[in-house]
């Protein structure tokens, strides 16, 4: 009687193993849980060699605030180490005393259309045209981690025409 039960148990055990093991392997194959810990790193070069061309460092889309503004703002670095901001597909409304600034994207003053306080910014110069591609030289040693937004700003009325949050290219 005792041995009968034991043999039944061992048979049951083998069935469990025979069914369970493939199930486990199947589950492992489907989920590959070890991949949660194992990374697969790659580092392919850019599909072209253009080390002498200016390299884009940061880029972002302009969004309109007080006036409709659109286009892209990109910060490039030349082979000589000079940095400049380039506006492309750019369009904003014309206005008096409009400047291009670098500012901090988390600046509370820039959240409104009309700035009330003091904006912590780097001046890049007067806006050359309200439409078209244009470049603005950056002063040497601007902290681009800190000043991570390009702003089209009307000094006279403290109006933010448009702002682009710059993200790493």
């Amino acid at each position: 009687m005792d041995s009968h039960i034991r043999s039944w148990f061992s048979r049951r055990k083998w069935i469990l193993v025979a069914v369970g093991l493939p199930l486990l392997i199947g589950a492992w194959w489907a989920f590959r849980p070890e991949k949660l810990w194992i990374n697969q790193k790659v580092n392919e070069p850019a599909p072209f060699a253009s080390s002498t061309d200016p390299q884009p460092l940061y880029t972002g889309r302009l969004e309109g605030k007080a006036h409709q503004t659109s286009g892209r703002a990109t910060i490039y670095k030349t082979a000589h180490g000079k940095e400049y901001l380039r506006l492309t597909d750019f369009s904003t409304s014309n206005g008096p005393d409009v400047h291009v600034l670098l500012a901090r994207s988390d600046d509370e003053n820039l959240k409104q259309e009309i700035v009330k306080g003091q904006v912590d910014s780097v001046e890049l110069g007067l806006l050359r045209g309200n439409q078209g591609d244009q470049n603005y030289d950056l002063p040497a040693s601007v902290d681009l981690q800190k000043y991570d937004a390009a702003v089209i700003y009307c000094e006279r009325f403290h109006a933010v025409f448009g702002i682009a949050r710059l993200e790493q290219f």
């Binding site: 194959w29 489907a30 989920f31 590959r32 991949k35 949660l36 194992i38 990374n39 697969q40 790193k41 790659v42 580092n43 392919e44 070069p45 850019a46 599909p47 072209f48 060699a49 253009s50 061309d53 884009p56 880029t59 889309r61 892209r72 990109t74 492309t88 597909d89 993200e167 790493q168 290219f169």
Partner: protein
């Protein structure tokens, strides 16, 4: 004697000209200027995913998708696809509603810079979003809506 001298000088000048022209052509060919067409950043969906996706057009005209500063979670059967939507959200069934897609291949690595060839004739005005897509579970790991560079 004089005539031969002039002739050889002319020949020399011509050879120099041809050489200079040849170098110019070669320099232009080696310039290898790839145009940046579109770019966008990833936002993580089912798994946290970050980095930038950029589409370049090489001089030969072929399109290349490049992922930079890229990071996602590793997983089984993960693919890079272009989908015909403006953006993709955290809908686990996001491809079941018959969204058109272009397959770019298996994800080469879950971290690091990597390039994928885009099939010729892909209409980028239609396929506006890159998705890191787990084929097996129909899950969108992350998506990058592309905008004109």
């Amino acid at each position: 004697m004089m005539l031969r001298d002039v002739k050889s000088k002319t020949m020399l000048a011509l050879a120099a000209l041809v050489f200079a022209f040849g170098m110019q052509v070669l320099a232009n060919a080696q310039d290898g200027k790839a145009k940046t067409l579109e770019t966008g950043t990833f936002h993580g969906k089912v798994h946290s995913t970050s980095g930038r996706a950029t589409i370049y057009q090489e001089e030969k005209g072929n399109l290349v998708l490049r992922l930079t500063n890229f990071k996602t979670s590793n997983g089984p059967d993960v693919h890079v696809i272009l989908i015909a939507v403006k953006d993709a959200d955290d809908d686990a069934n996001f491809l079941k509603s018959g969204v058109e897609r272009v397959e770019l291949g298996s994800l080469k690595g879950n971290e690091g810079d990597q390039n994928y060839a885009i099939p010729n004739g892909t209409d980028l005005s239609k396929f506006q979003t890159v998705s890191i897509y787990c084929e097996r579970f129909n899950a969108n790991f992350g998506a990058a809506p592309l905008e004109k560079f």
